[in-house]
């Protein structure tokens, strides 16, 4: 259990983040838009959980935070308005070209 969620739930959410970003690839999506689309599948999903998963995926190198031109101080941008896009390795995972046991 991590943050009140079990392993299966965590994996599902992470996978769905990749799938959503895969649909709009190579475009970036705001965290808020991601959350809204994920709420269809996970009605109880908390934004903090999504934030945690986005952090994880960024550290794994599957997702990349994109800084918009209008963001003068990037660290000041609220999380909900931050842009994220799939990286090439994230795309490979989303397309099942590469397997990651942490996301299977």
């Amino acid at each position: 259990m991590a943050n009140g969620r079990n392993m299966a739930q965590i994996k599902r959410v992470r996978n769905e983040i990749l799938v959503a970003l895969h649909v709009v690839y190579p475009v970036a999506m705001q965290a808020d838009q991601l959350l809204r689309s994920l709420l269809v599948l996970f009605p109880t999903l908390d934004f903090d959980h999504l934030k945690r998963d986005l952090h994880y995926l960024c550290e794994k190198g599957y997702v990349l935070r994109v800084e918009a031109e209008s963001e003068s101080a990037t660290y000041m941008t609220p999380w909900r308005r931050r842009w994220f896009r799939l990286t090439s390795s994230g795309l490979e995972i989303a397309e099942h070209c590469v397997k990651d046991p942490a996301l299977d």
């Binding site: 599902r12 959503a20 709009v24 999506m29 838009q33 269809v40 918009a68 209008s70 003068s72």
Partner: protein, 251 residues
């Protein structure tokens, strides 16, 4: 040269005990099991035939033997064949009686798979809409009409349609795209002419959440100036007729 005589007594062969002779005695050759004699394809055909039968009588075995030429080809007598087939049939019957429905896999309940299936369908339709609306990235050249506006639009389309919240009419989409592109172009021009970077207040104003209604979007993008001069609802009617929105630059 002759070998010198030895004092050793001549070797006497000992008789083997009963136990020893039993050990070394050649056991009678066990016949090969039927499944190893008959080729797999023939065996499968036989199994299929047996499955269809409710009882395996000796006449049935004879018929099968004649049909597949078991004795002639492989040397398996009809009696052996019959015994083997009966054994298979009873094993299959037992298996069928004891087989329980497989337990569902962890995390793949029906409700979840239905929900996921519906979501995947929506995602697929979003993907096709995005493809039809914007085409490939190279074709739509987002760098020409501002990267962020392009992202915003795509994200908006995905969010709205994937969540099945509401529909986005094509007119509204076109209007939104033009408004976003126009506003960004104006911003860039202002920056170029003033030569100064934007202040934090301006950023906050443009970074705000996208309103639900198009009228609110127009109001947010063009500010109060345009809404004071003209009625917003009129401009919306104009755009909903499929005509391009007025590209009046805010003063």
């Amino acid at each position: 040269m002759t070998r010198p005589p030895t004092n050793k007594p001549p070797a006497v062969r000992k008789r083997k005990s009963k136990r020893q002779s039993r050990k070394t005695a050649v056991s009678p050759v066990r016949p090969k099991p039927v499944e190893k004699i008959i080729p797999v394809d023939v065996m499968n055909k036989l199994r299929d035939r047996v499955e269809a039968l409710s009882e395996i009588s000796s006449s049935t075995v004879k018929t099968l033997d004649q049909e597949f030429e078991i004795e002639a080809r492989y040397g398996v007598t009809p009696r052996r064949l019959g015994n083997y087939l009966r054994k298979i049939a009873s094993a299959d019957r037992e298996k069928a009686n004891t087989t329980e429905p497989a337990a569902p896999k962890r995390g793949t309940s029906d409700a979840w798979s239905k929900k996921l299936g519906a979501h995947r369908k929506r995602q697929a339709s979003v993907a096709s809409i995005l493809d039809a609306t914007f085409g490939h990235l190279e074709d739509c050249k987002p760098e020409l009409w501002d990267r962020r506006a392009y992202w915003m639009l795509v994200g908006l389309v995905y969010e709205r349609i994937a969540t099945n919240e509401s529909e986005i009419p094509t007119d509204e989409l076109v209007t939104l795209a033009k408004i976003l592109a126009e506003s960004r172009r104006i911003e860039v021009k202002i920056r170029e002419t003033s030569g100064a970077s934007t202040t934090r207040e301006e950023d906050v104003a443009t970074d705000g959440p996208i309103p639900e209604r198009l009228a609110d979007i127009v109001r947010q993008v063009y500010g109060t100036t345009i809404s004071n001069k003209t009625d917003t609802s009129n401009s919306l009617d104009e755009t909903s007729n499929g005509r391009a929105p007025s590209t009046n630059k805010p003063s």
